[in-house]
């Protein structure tokens, strides 16, 4: 339900805090641990979770997230498995919005009930980087009918298909992509981010969250000062991968992940 997502941004804005959003791949490193991993991220201060359903060819992603997709697939990940994780998470957390992120093909190779199925599992919105609005147009009614929202991506040099951005089914927030390359790249320039956020605000009234290349608490704090939300992907994914190399039990893993997320929360709250 996209309303849960909208409500969360409103709450945070009222608190004067930026929303903290973490990306992770569903099933990395294990399907069994996945729901608890999400709880750990929330425990660490996440306001919103961007949950990736894995794809074999994640063309917008850099090496860190490419490999996480591979690990998730090897662990048995899929769109179905991802939605099962969401269901398990919802059993204990009815508040934290989940934005499903992934590539078009696993959705478009399903039948027309797929959006209802996703909403039914408890997800709130969709980020599909290879489904631009001009191609999504025909699907937006079904997305809207399911109570979901397709989050529009806004590139650094502007928005194409801006005419479609106000269509029903488009919403949640504006995803301000901080740089042109794939995810996990170099840190974006804060000045450029500021300009990009301003552009997003000019285009619509939706909250603006910034992602791509935000790998440290300090940078997250800088961005949080100008945006409504900050999205951290590769940094968390890389931390999850690194924990996999250590021989720790599940409890220690979740604690470490929560601690990691908390460094971002603390930094952001100190500034925003």
């Amino acid at each position: 339900m996209s309303r849960r997502l909208t409500r969360r941004f409103v709450e945070r804005r009222q608190q004067g805090r930026a929303a903290l959003i973490f990306y992770l791949a569903a099933g990395d490193p294990s399907i069994a641990l996945a729901a608890d991993m999400l709880h750990a991220v929330v425990a660490g201060g996440a306001d919103i979770i961007e949950l990736g359903y894995p794809f074999c060819d994640p063309i917008l992603d850099g090496p860190v997230i490419r490999l996480a997709n591979r690990r998730a697939l090897d662990a048995g990940g899929s769109l179905d498995a991802t939605l099962a994780i969401v269901r398990r998470f919802r059993a204990r957390d009815a508040d934290t919005p989940i934005v499903l992120m992934g590539y078009a093909n696993p959705l478009l190779s399903r039948d027309g009930a797929v959006f209802a199925y996703i909403a039914d599992a408890g997800a709130d919105a969709l980020i599909i980087p290879d489904l631009p609005l001009r191609e999504a147009a025909a699907l937006l009614p079904a997305i809207a009918a399911a109570g979901l929202a397709l989050v529009p991506l806004v590139s650094p040099d502007g928005m194409t298909d801006a005419n479609l951005a106000a269509s029903p089914g488009v919403g949640g927030f504006s995803y301000c992509v901080a740089q042109a390359g794939p995810t996990g790249g170099a840190a974006p320039d804060t000045g450029q981010v500021r300009a990009a956020v301003a552009m997003c605000r000019a285009l619509s009234d939706r909250p603006v969250a910034v992602g791509f290349g935000i790998k440290t608490p300090a940078l997250a704090a800088e961005i949080a000062a100008v945006a409504d939300g900050v999205i951290v992907g590769s940094a968390l994914v890389d931390r999850i991968r690194a924990m996999g190399d250590e021989d720790v039990d599940a409890a220690a893993l979740f604690a470490a992940i929560a601690d990691f997320c908390r460094t971002f929360r603390t930094a952001i709250d100190g500034r925003s």
Partner: protein, 403 residues
């Protein structure tokens, strides 16, 4: 709620006006399923192409360089099939072009567009190496920088292809550790392009990718079919009865078929059936609709929408999708689809080498194997044309290993 059915795609197939190819009723392949950052680039490209097509100077330059750079027209070789009552098998010799593959026209057209758009660089992916060599050679001729993505090459023959690209001044980027899978090289090239879209054009080697690529490639490659048709009319008095191409991406196929759509010619696209297992590279035969690299088309995929891990014997045929227009032609019944197993293709390659002194690429051999099969039963004198996508020197180690 089980979502494992293989049929019944989302009924309202995404559909906007541009770059759509009608398949079965209600089916429209193609589109622009790309990251938003590429949309302005694609829109610019489309506009540039529309302008260029109307510009006689562009057309003259294209034609001049088809002759002076690509080395066109390519010859048409008649293969005597021994038997007096046999069909006549003509081979369109794309192997005898400047870069030794069937990519010349498409690459030249796209590079000229890059130049026209004021770009200084191009990027491409290559499976067999042939497309990479064509892009490197053409970029050199037009003064563009070229970056070529290739799966980390194993054999000495592929290294020779890399040597050639480098001799032309191209930067070769090896995509590590993922066997000979063309689509990984393609993903690498597209990522490069996304990061450099303002000054760098992606050059497609097949009629795949987001609109306008399938249209560009079809139009620029159509010179193959125009030449072949004229050559066969000159030699036999009529267009060919049958035209055959291998589905190795489809750049030669779309070029050959495009010029024959209005004739009564049977158009047959031959897919590598492989050994029946993971080697099958037959998206038209075994695929179902989905999105890959920007196009809604027929894909080899599992129930979850993950792409099948194709390990086709022919490095140029390991792409798990069909070009959207070819998919449309196949679904609409305008072209026929056939399949040939690896063993039969290799036998055909050896047959042509042993008996005709003609060494064709493994990719081509699937089409030729089917042509041989048809020739055996066709009426006396039936004119069959089959396009040879490239030469086979690079494939000899593969063929050897196959035993």
């Amino acid at each position: 709620m089980v979502h494992r059915r293989m049929t019944n795609q989302i009924v309202t197939v995404p559909c906007h006006s541009r770059g759509r190819f009608a398949g079965r009723p209600g089916e429209a392949f193609g589109g622009q399923f790309v990251a938003p950052i590429l949309l302005p680039v694609l829109d610019r490209l489309e506009a540039a192409y529309r302008e260029a097509r109307a510009d006689p100077v562009f057309r003259a330059t294209f034609d001049r360089l088809l002759a002076d750079h690509v080395g066109r027209p390519t010859p048409l070789s008649l293969i005597e099939l021994g038997d007096a009552g046999a069909a006549r098998l003509f081979l369109k010799r794309e192997d005898l072009s400047n870069s030794g593959g069937s990519y010349g026209g498409g690459v030249l057209g796209q590079c000229l567009l890059a130049q026209r758009m004021g770009m200084g660089a191009v990027v491409a992916d290559t499976g067999s190496g042939d497309h990479g060599v064509a892009v490197a050679a053409t970029a050199s001729r037009l003064g563009l920088a070229a970056t070529i993505y290739i799966a980390d090459p194993a054999g000495r023959s592929q290294l020779a292809m890399v040597d050639r690209m480098r001799a032309f001044g191209a930067t070769v980027a090896m995509v590590p550790g993922e066997a000979s899978m063309l689509h990984h090289a393609m993903s690498g090239a597209i990522q490069h392009w996304m990061a450099h879209g303002a000054d760098c054009l992606y050059v497609a080697g097949a009629p795949i990718g987001p609109h306008p690529y399938p249209t560009l490639v079809r139009d620029f490659q159509a010179v193959i079919g125009r030449e072949a048709r004229a050559q066969i009319v000159e030699r036999t008095g009529a267009p060919p009865a049958v035209a055959i191409a291998t589905m190795d991406g489809g750049g030669a196929a779309v070029g050959l078929f495009g010029a024959l759509l209005d004739d009564a010619t049977r158009l047959i696209l031959v897919e590598p059936e492989g050994d029946g297992g993971s080697r099958s590279a037959a998206p038209l035969s075994h695929g179902r609709p989905g999105v890959l690299h920007g196009a809604y088309t027929l894909l080899l995929q599992d129930a979850d929408g993950q792409l099948c891990d194709i390990r086709a014997l022919a490095p140029g045929a390991s792409y798990p999708a069909a070009g959207p227009e070819l998919a449309a032609w196949a679904r609409a019944g305008r072209i026929e689809v056939a399949r040939i197993a690896d063993g039969d293709a290799i036998a055909s390659l050896r047959w042509a080498a042993r008996h005709y002194g003609l060494l064709m690429s493994l990719e081509s051999a699937y089409g030729v194997a089917h042509a041989q099969r048809m020739a055996a039963t066709a009426a006396t004198g039936t004119a069959i044309v089959c396009v040879l996508n490239g030469g086979g020197t690079k494939d000899l180690p593969l063929v050897e290993r196959h035993g």
